[in-house]
């Protein structure tokens, strides 16, 4: 049973390897984002004449942002969501529906597989960061394990949220505008470019009531040791709860939508 989904992962990996330039794009995306952030925060620290902001030294903040951009890239889905929406719109989804495979699981594996090059490149970048800035990332082996688990939850949760929006295409045909709007707002609200810990308290309180907290901040806080280990359990339970809720809503929307589907084209 699991073998068929690992096969989907593998074929997407093979597919991703056909386009080696994408690996370079991933590195450029991270480094250019980090460069802009460096300039902005450097200016803020210098102009304010402060050593730290809300508990972050300049170096700690840069490492936090660096990892946030990386996690943000891994949870975003331009390719998979675009292909899924196009599939529903044009009838290409038929090729998945006629096979004994779950549409949700198949595309989740695709979602991971498409990003496989990024996983490889980002792992190398992380390794270099750990060597160059010892002590700022992964204070202990537990943090590495915690980070991998929280990152897995973040990727699944993010995909589940995309899935709900994608399934709306069964009714509206074209929902890419919704995905674009979501992606743009998520860059800010999930903390991909500015740590949500720096947000005003009332905004942060609202974000804590949503799954957004678990998309970027949760894994990055574990990796940087900012979240005390005694808080992990509660946050893992809540994040898994969000995964179940989003998966359940996605299944409902899909099951309703597929009845509406008209298998366009041939």
């Amino acid at each position: 049973m699991i073998k068929k989904y690992t096969a989907v992962l593998k074929i997407n990996w093979i597919h991703a390897l056909e386009y080696r330039a994408n690996a370079l794009v991933g590195v450029v995306a991270i480094l250019s984002g980090l460069f802009i952030e460096y300039q902005i925060w450097n200016l803020i620290f210098l102009s304010q004449g402060v050593e730290s902001i809300k508990g972050f030294s300049f170096q700690e903040l840069m490492i936090f942002i660096f990892l946030s951009i990386m996690v943000g890239q891994l949870k975003s889905s331009w390719h998979t969501s675009g292909e899924m929406i196009e599939g529903i719109r044009t009838g290409d989804i038929n090729k998945y529906l006629i096979r004994p495979i779950s549409y949700f699981n198949y595309h989740f594996m695709m979602f991971i597989g498409v990003n496989s090059l990024y996983y490889t490149v980002y792992s190398l970048l992380l390794l270099v960061t750990i060597i160059v800035f010892p002590g700022l990332l992964f204070p202990s082996i537990i943090n590495i394990i915690g980070f991998i688990l929280a990152l897995s939850i973040s990727v699944f949760l993010s995909y589940s949220i995309y899935y709900i929006m994608i399934c709306c295409a069964f009714w509206f045909g074209e929902v890419r505008a919704i995905i674009v709007a979501y992606n743009l707002s998520m860059i800010i609200l999930s903390g991909q470019y500015i740590p949500i810990r720096l947000f005003p308290d009332n905004v942060l309180d609202i974000i804590k009531l949503t799954p957004l907290l678990y998309l970027v901040d949760f894994p990055v806080s574990i990796a940087t040791g900012r979240m005390p280990i005694e808080d992990w359990g509660f946050n893992f339970i809540v994040s898994i709860g969000w995964c179940i809720i989003m998966w359940f809503i996605g299944s409902l929307v899909y099951n309703r939508g597929i009845r509406n589907y008209e298998a366009y084209g041939s």
Binding site: V8, K95, G265
Partner: protein
């Protein structure tokens, strides 16, 4: 695989708008929907191992019927029962027994070799290693594409790609195979290869085939039985040869005379039968009985150099049928 379709109908909701910016704006605020029936009250029973051809003009409902049988669409009314399965529940057990090839849609991974897609299907359909190897080798040799296995799909010709699509669809040895326009856009040799293959596969594995095609020759060569759809309704279900006979019961006779034959002896026959004589060859297009009667009389008066019979081209016959099907089926 046994198939029973009863009273099957499918309607689609469509919206219409007039052309231009005004039409687009008006439709944006006040969209008008209408329903149209793509299929109406279809009844059909199919036994295991049968090859059924579905004929019809564009928009007759052929592809809609295929999609309903495989479970891509939910019927508006009626039932489809395939070996006890309700297709639109998309039970994985059921999907492991069927396969669909849609001539206009690519099911293979475009940027990587077809062999990778075959491996993926191996896992999706949970095919044993040894079975996968033997089936793939058999299909690859039958369709003569061994040297193309490791070529990116996007670099294959249309015919090669269709053959790869068919291999991918048959690796799990489905009992029911639905081919929607399998020879569309293919050259004559590829078309013939696919027809031969369908006949072989049907005989060898007792697989049930449902085939739609715009090429009447496809249907003539592969399917003994046809279902004819016209504007969503079923207007004929039976032997293809019977349909052709009922539309155009005439055949063609070629009778070649010896050099220096006496053409005046034909005068009497010309008054009764319609035929032409040119370059010592008599050509007549008549019903089976008239043709027999004419031939007896000809043989009585002449000794032929050669003679032959020919069925009229089915494409022409079907074309005239679809112009006004009611005329032939009353």
């Amino acid at each position: 695989m046994y198939i029973k379709i009863s009273n099957l109908s499918k309607s689609f909701k469509m919206f219409k708008r007039s052309a231009g910016l005004k039409g687009a704006l008006s439709s944006f605020f006040n969209r008008k929907y209408s329903h149209f029936f793509a299929l109406k009250n279809i009844d059909l029973e199919l036994k295991s191992g049968e090859i059924l051809g579905i004929l019809g003009e564009n928009g007759a409902g052929k592809t809609t019927l295929i999609k309903l049988i495989v479970g891509l669409l939910h019927p508006t009314n009626g039932n489809v029962n395939v070996d006890g399965y309700n297709p639109w529940k998309r039970n994985h057990e059921y999907l492991r027994k069927v396969s669909v090839v849609m001539g206009q849609k690519n099911q293979l991974w475009w940027d990587i070799p077809a062999s990778e897609s075959f491996l993926l299907n191996k896992h999706i359909y949970q095919i044993e290693d040894s079975e996968f190897e033997s089936t793939m080798n058999e299909l690859v040799d039958l369709l003569d594409v061994r040297d193309k296995l490791d070529v990116q799909v996007r670099r294959l010709s249309l015919g090669e790609r269709m053959k790869m699509e068919i291999i991918a669809a048959l690796l799990h040895k489905p009992a029911l195979i639905l081919l929607d326009e399998p020879t569309l856009g293919l050259d004559v040799i590829s078309q013939s290869k696919i027809r031969d293959f369908v006949r072989y596969y049907n005989k060898e594995y007792n697989a049930t085939f449902i085939i739609t095609s715009h090429y009447t020759k496809d249907i003539q060569e592969m399917c003994e039985r046809v279902l004819v759809l016209h504007k969503g309704s079923q207007i004929y279900d039976g032997k293809f040869s019977d349909l052709i006979k009922s539309i155009n019961p005439r055949r063609r006779l070629f009778f070649e005379f010896n050099e220096g034959f006496d053409e005046s002896l034909l005068e009497e026959l010309k008054a009764v039968y319609n035929f032409n004589v040119s370059n010592n060859i008599l050509t007549a297009e008549l019903s089976e009985n008239d043709l027999k009667a004419l031939l007896i009389k000809l043989l009585d008066k002449f000794s032929p150099n050669s003679m032959s019979f020919e069925d009229l081209p089915v494409e022409e016959t079907m074309r005239s049928f679809f112009i006004n099907p009611d005329q032939y089926l009353k």
